[in-house]
């Protein structure tokens, strides 16, 4: 592993790669800061730009966008009380009050310092944790893998925000869409309607851009119109915020570790991490009464936690091919285009791509830190982009992405249909990330259970007893049952109280 890291250093520090990292991080920050463009959407819209890059460069670029977008969301949360990405909802609670007190710079400084620290901790865990998980995952066979995927699917419902029942229904809809195309083992065609464009299933990138961007555009269309009524005056210096944030060393460590850990869980994203980081900081704080009224510590806790998620969430995505949230699902789409199939073998086969990628994430975090302290004050107005300009621009970028994926005009219709479908789901308050996970994980589960069934029949044992013969499968069967029980209990509690403890429903991913 250390030799891999040393071999990766010259690649990462080449001028072209440094430029790509900086471009990705800055672009991600600006897109993430734009209300209406989430981290998922930023990646989905930029994946097409990487089509002709070499795989290392493409991954490094998209990784930079991921880091930048999660940080960037805090900018609009602080300046105009609108989260650029759902991950920044907890940041608003104290960030906007600080702005109203004329301390926008302090809040921005605390946010970027926290994002940087959380991001770096997450990447350190990724760097040392991912190879270990990959080594373990190599011993996993088809039947075990099937149960890991099923566990991931059920926990999407258990860990998501809002109604768990609706989360599971979304996941089931995604699984149904994942069935379209040829059977992974027999090759039988299903639900293709005679269209050759659907033989390989619904293309993930096209489904993703359609689902997230077109539905978001339709959402923007029905939003109340007009000026948000806010003006950005002078932002002021970020240094006092950074200096104040550095006093909260315990908060930094707690939020960063919580964020990274939450990132590794399937179904839990940066939005949940920021809330948990915020709440835990409030509980342990010496001045909890200041939270919600403009506490620098609150902004710092939330932002440290959500950027910790970046590194953590990449572990299951890269080592198992199981994305835990919508952003990593979008990133997975980007990997697949370059012929990189995430899974335990990726670490052996493509360590020359993965290590430069992981190391570049350290630089991406550094890039948005430098950008925040230098260029941000000139570009902070991006948060005021009106919907009337944003919506048409998103549509055009979506259609370009959908078409360039494989030059098929059928994909334009698929993107549009997925968008309308996503919009209808959003109206009914059904979450979208589980749909994407269903589309991606469905075929994975199907392929592995088909193989397991072949092995079982070759050994002449019933499939069920073949499952029970593997301890790993048994563990994941138990975890699946547990996660369903938790889901049902939470749903009952949710129904009784009317709302969940955290009603952070937002479909922007």
């Amino acid at each position: 592993m250390y030799s891999d890291i040393i071999a990766a250093l010259p690649i990462v520090f080449s001028p072209a790669m440094l430029l790509i990292v900086a471009a990705g991080a800055v672009l991600g920050t600006l897109l993430g800061a734009t209300p209406g463009v989430s981290a998922t959407l930023s990646i989905a819209l930029l994946v097409p730009v990487t089509f002709t890059m070499d795989p290392t460069m493409a991954l490094v670029f998209l990784g930079g966008v991921y880091c930048g977008a999660i940080y960037g969301a805090s900018i609009s949360a602080i300046l105009i009380n609108v989260p650029g990405t759902p991950s920044a909802v907890a940041t608003m609670l104290d960030g906007y009050p600080l702005t109203k007190q004329g301390k926008a710079g302090t809040a921005l400084g605390a946010a970027v310092t926290g994002s940087f620290i959380g991001g770096q901790v997450g990447v350190i865990v990724l760097l040392f944790g991912a190879p270990l998980v990959a080594a373990l995952a190599l011993r996993v066979g088809s039947q075990e893998f099937f149960w890991i995927v099923i566990f991931a699917m059920t926990s999407v419902g258990a860990l998501g925000a809002g109604s768990v029942l609706k989360g599971l229904i979304s996941a089931a809809l995604g699984l149904s869409l994942g069935v379209v195309g040829s059977h992974p083992v027999t090759g039988a065609l299903r639900f293709t309607g005679g269209s050759t464009a659907l033989y390989e299933g619904i293309p993930i990138v096209v489904a993703l851009v359609g689902l997230f961007s077109i539905s978001q555009v339709l959402q923007l269309v029905i939003e109340p119109r007009g000026d948000r009524g806010v003006k950005i005056t002078s932002v002021g210096s970020l240094w006092p915020g950074a200096a104040a944030a550095l006093r909260y060393k315990v908060t930094a460590a707690r939020s960063a570790i919580l964020g990274t850990f939450i990132g590794t869980l399937p179904g839990a994203g940066a939005d949940i991490a920021s809330f948990i980081g915020y709440n835990e900081a409030k509980r342990a704080s010496r001045e909890p009464q200041k939270f919600g009224k403009g506490s620098v510590e609150g902004v710092f806790a939330s932002e440290t936690a959500n950027n910790g998620v970046v590194g953590g969430s990449l572990i299951p995505m890269m080592t198992l091919g199981i994305p835990g949230n919508a952003v990593t699902a979008a990133l997975l789409g980007g990997l697949l285009i370059h012929g990189l199939i995430p899974g335990p073998r990726l670490f052996e086969a493509s360590s020359d791509i993965l290590y430069p990628f992981i190391l570049s994430l350290f630089l991406a975090n550094l890039a948005f830190l430098i950008f925040a302290f230098t260029g941000l004050r000139y570009l902070a107005r991006v948060v005021l982009t009106p919907n009337s300009i944003l919506a048409p621009a998103i549509v055009v970028l979506t259609m370009m992405g959908a078409f360039t994926f494989r030059g098929s005009t059928t994909d334009l219709w698929i993107a549009l249909a997925m968008g309308v479908f996503g919009f209808i789901l959003t109206l009914g308050r059904f979450p979208l990330p589980p749909v994407v996970l269903g589309i991606i994980l469905g075929p994975l589960a199907e392929k592995n259970i088909a193989r397991a069934a072949q092995i079982a029949s070759a050994r002449d044992v019933p499939l069920l007893s073949y499952f029970l013969s593997s301890p790993i499968s048994v563990v994941f069967i138990i975890l699946t049952i547990l996660s369903i029980v938790i889901t049902v209990r939470r749903e009952i509690a949710w129904r009784r109280s009317g709302t969940g403890g955290y009603d952070g429903f937002d479909n922007a991913g």
């Binding site: 269309v221 029905i222 009106p386 259609m399 078409f403 360039t404 334009l412």
Partner: protein, 79 residues
């Protein structure tokens, strides 16, 4: 029908026409027309903003497609 309902219906219609336009007229022409219509629908009233934003974005995309991607976008009568 409420105003937002009407806006939604018109947007859906525009989206279908836009996709047909990309296929039959060409990506850049159709995108330009679509952007102007959608901006006007969503309350953008300054023609200078509408035209400059559309042309600016499409020029960047043209550069990206030609230089980076080497993909032939559907083209028709004009572009």
């Amino acid at each position: 029908m409420t105003r937002s309902g009407l806006d939604l219906a018109v947007t859906l219609g525009l989206l279908v026409l836009y996709v047909l336009g990309i296929i039959h007229v060409g990506f850049f022409t159709a995108s330009f027309v679509f952007m102007i219509c959608q901006m006007a629908l969503m309350g953008q009233r300054r023609p200078v903003v509408m035209v400059s934003v559309s042309i600016g974005l499409l020029a960047v995309l043209y550069g990206v497609v030609e230089v980076f991607l080497n993909v032939a976008m559907p083209s028709g009568l004009l572009f």
